[in-house]
Symmetry: C2
Subunit: 343 residues, 2 copies
DNA sequence: ATTATAGTTGTAATCGATTACATTTACCAT
DNA sequence: ATGGTAAATGTAATCGATTACAACTATAAT
């Protein structure tokens, strides 16, 4: 029995089990170094007393937090949720937990994020946001050491952080080739933000594929979006102002594609009758949209799992700083109902 | 200039500014108790040395973490993202940060979540998941004190935790009344999980409204879902096996409604021609769906803001345990394209 | 001039674990 | 029996801040 009114500390457990605090500590973190019999006694005492380790004390002394910061550009986009699931389950298996930071919501600027994610809060960073790298690097120079960082999905060319991503060029090529095979010769692009690495990769992949098919692309057939539903709507309006319109559109992501299709529809143009549309990501709702969205599927769970695994490896052997090459996973074209032969 | 290779600690700043560590500490946390001149010197020294407070040391001593745990049933549902935005911005204004826990992804069971969210990790809890309350209470008895908890959206009848929610009964009534006004007399329900407080509230609101309109509801017109797209699909299939079918469906949430509409469509039944459908939540995509979804709008940002504010108040005056009554916000019916007069 | 008071600042104990190092125990080979 | 080695455990320093309390200063009131 414990005396009431005080949360038990490690000394209480030690006393109860008849051992030293060191032994209790070891039982909890390196059980294999403690004799079976002692271990049992300690665990019993810990359970009886309702002991919970004080995490602040632990990380103050051990210089580890057990927390990984995950930077997400926009939690509102469902694309990220399955990646997060992969990250979370992989980290949980190692006893690590996730501190999620929405770099869009976060009321503040990059410098704040770095101030926030200092090494007394997290042991490492998984960034799904490629735009933060330069600042991260700066901060790394300013303070003692750089936090181990792995980029997932997005990446940054400067600073050779390890990264796991998808073959965006291949994705674009699959999309364009599909449209070309259907007979489209006038293909437009709803690009993502032009400062985003994904957008840039997908754009250059698309342009390459268009060129390879010996097609031309009019500058007026390219529109800029910010990956949001709303920017798809805007793109539709811009598209319809054109005299000479493309017959097919390849979109930066599914949300943009849905916004686009939705607005085209409201303006009396139908997909795929009047326009073919291809998205990117295969978010959950893509298959349930009407018409169901033709899109590029990404192995989202795997991206999260592998990214987390890469970070774990960096955390475990801090010594080796061998700059791992970026890992790249393949994508797949999912043909549904938003693409057809041109009218 | 600092010597390299060592991250500066509070003593370094103190030395640099020519004051004691106590003064540095106070400058950083209670500036008003420090003379202007001293304050300036300390801040200058802190900046020059690139000092970052060690959060583990701080919370070990101060017994506060500055972190609020947010329990989310399913991050993959976009419904939550705007609530989270409201929570995050409100907490950030007070220097508090968010530790997000997806109670669905979390590989483990409630007892784990509580073990995880112990008071050395968070100062309080915002729960968007009503199912956890009983366990929370148990844990509160087992350990020293209960973590201050506020429920947002969902709630629990046991244990009078403060909560902020939406008028679910009113939402159901608005939906049903709308369908009745259109002339529907055979109204079916796609309910959420029957152990969920939201589902129960919405169901009883709907039944009351149906009764008030002097209509009957056949048991076979009620279907159970789990708020997912997939369960909407399943509901459509069940619905179509019926001989005597309702002409309108009120769904537990928008995702279910979209799954339902999508599958009805694939089976050759159209909305709103063959069936009228009303959702609940007004997620971002609702207005961009084809047909655009008639639904019940919730003040999501406000839910998050007020919930966070309520928790902040509890954290600030720990003394007053006056059990605040649940706050309830109104909802709105948004009429779009999925409802029409019965055929 | 003296005392009271409020405003600043410093000293040093403290939060609760981990872990380097020392010590003891157990076991085996000689 | 003896020495050597490995395994298990204990002692006490340590992580880096916060804060109770003491001490000092400046100003106002008497």
């Amino acid at each position: 029995m414990m005396e009431e009114g005080r949360t038990p500390k490690i000394v209480d457990v030690a006393r109860l089990a008849g051992v030293s605090t060191a032994t209790v500590s070891r039982t909890l973190s390196k059980p294999e170094t403690v004799a079976q019999k002692t271990r049992d006694a300690v665990l019993k005492a810990a359970k009886e007393s309702g002991y919970r380790v004080n995490l602040s004390a632990r990380s103050l002394r051990s210089r580890r937090t057990g927390v990984v910061g995950v930077l997400v550009p926009n939690l509102g986009n469902t694309f990220f949720s399955r990646i997060l699931a992969g990250i979370e389950s992989t980290l949980a298996r190692k006893g690590l937990s996730v501190l999620m930071v929405d770099t869009m919501h976060q009321t503040t600027k990059p410098e704040f994020i770095l101030d926030y994610l200092n090494d007394s809060r997290v042991d490492g960073i998984l960034s799904l946001d490629g735009s933060l790298s330069p600042t991260l690097l700066q901060a790394g120079q300013a303070t003692a050491g750089l936090l181990p960082t792995v980029f997932v999905c997005e990446w940054h060319d400067q600073g050779n952080h390890p990264s796991i991503r998808v073959d965006n060029l291949q994705g674009s090529a699959l999309a364009i080739d599909h449209l070309v095979a259907l007979g489209h010769t006038k293909i437009g692009l709803i690009n993502g933000p032009l400062d985003n690495v994904l957008s840039k990769a997908r754009l250059s992949g698309a342009l390459a594929a268009i060129k390879k098919a010996n097609l031309k692309i009019d500058d007026s057939w390219q529109f800029e979006s910010d990956f949001s539903l709303q920017s798809g709507v805007a793109a539709a309006d811009s598209l319809l102002t054109l005299q000479d319109r493309p017959t097919a559109l390849f979109c930066a992501n599914d949300e943009t594609a849905i916004g686009l299709i939705s607005q085209l529809h409201r303006r009396g143009f139908y997909v795929p009758k009047d326009f073919s549309v291809v998205g990117f990501d295969d978010i959950d709702i893509a298959r349930h949209y009407l018409p169901a969205l033709t899109t590029i599927w990404q192995p989202r769970m795997e991206l999260g799992e592998i990214g987390a695994q890469m970070l774990i490896e960096r955390l475990e052997n801090k010594a080796s700083h061998t700059p791992q090459p970026a890992k790249v996973l393949p994508v797949e074209l999912i043909i549904r109902e938003t693409t057809a032969k041109p009218a």
